[in-house]
């Protein structure tokens, strides 16, 4: 099935684009398991911007207690994959 876009990798690409835009981290560095804080140098202010952008796009409220568990592209893709987009 190489070359065939699936719903889940389309979603992952969208999420990656959003994060790259907000954080100014190049997309090629945003690998699924790269830790936003330790590996990519994303600080706490960029983190709140990511949270606010996803809340707006998916019309959700991300509780503060969930934020420490959304630390890489894989986790944020998983967190948002069943949500309806704006």
């Amino acid at each position: 099935m190489r070359g065939v876009a699936t719903m889940s990798n389309i979603h992952e690409e969208e999420v990656k684009k959003m994060i790259a835009e907000i954080t100014e981290v190049p997309e090629e560095k945003l690998t699924p398991d790269a830790d936003f804080f330790n590996d990519l140098g994303i600080d706490s202010l960029k983190a709140i911007e990511i949270v606010a952008a996803f809340e707006k796009k998916y019309r959700i409220i991300i509780p503060e207690k969930d934020i420490p568990n959304i630390r890489n592209l894989r986790q944020i893709t998983e967190y948002t994959k069943h949500l309806k987009k704006d």
Partner: protein, 145 residues
């Protein structure tokens, strides 16, 4: 809901000549605060900005918007704000649309975008005579001692 300057000073760490809110005239739940800065003829910054041609510096309009945002943060998270944290402005996306002159009554509206215990985002506008003179999206960090 009305707050005078004394009440404002019990929340904001700022003092003259760097306190840019005179009154809070509306508090809409924990979502929005409306504050006022009356621009006096003898504001210190007019001495240099500019001699004989006084215009309020745009960065000070943004500062007033940031101070209004801190009031909103207090309304939403009083338990954090009462510990007198330090507020650091981290990112500003602003448009300055019209000049502000001595005698103007600057009305500043701050709305919550996202507040966490350690950081906050607001959307703000400033108006004079019902005309928007500035808009800004502000991101701050909040460091509790």
């Amino acid at each position: 809901m009305y707050w005078d300057k004394e009440k404002i000073k019990s929340i904001l760490p700022h003092r003259e000549p760097f306190l840019f809110i005179d009154e809070v005239i509306k508090i809409d739940g924990t979502e929005k605060v409306v504050a006022v800065k009356n621009i006096k003829d003898n504001e210190g910054f007019f001495d240099g900005h500019f001699p004989g041609k006084p215009i309020m510096p745009g960065v000070l309009i943004i500062e007033a918007m940031a101070q209004t945002s801190i009031i909103l943060f207090f309304v939403d998270k009083p338990e954090i704000a009462k510990a007198h944290p330090a507020y650091y402005l981290g990112k500003v996306k602003a448009e300055l649309l019209a000049p502000v002159y001595p005698g103007d009554r600057l009305i500043i509206e701050a709305e919550k975008v996202k507040f966490l215990d350690y950081a906050a985002i607001t959307d703000t506008i400033a108006k004079v005579n019902n005309k928007i003179v500035a808009k800004a999206n502000l991101v701050f960090s909040i460091k509790t001692p």
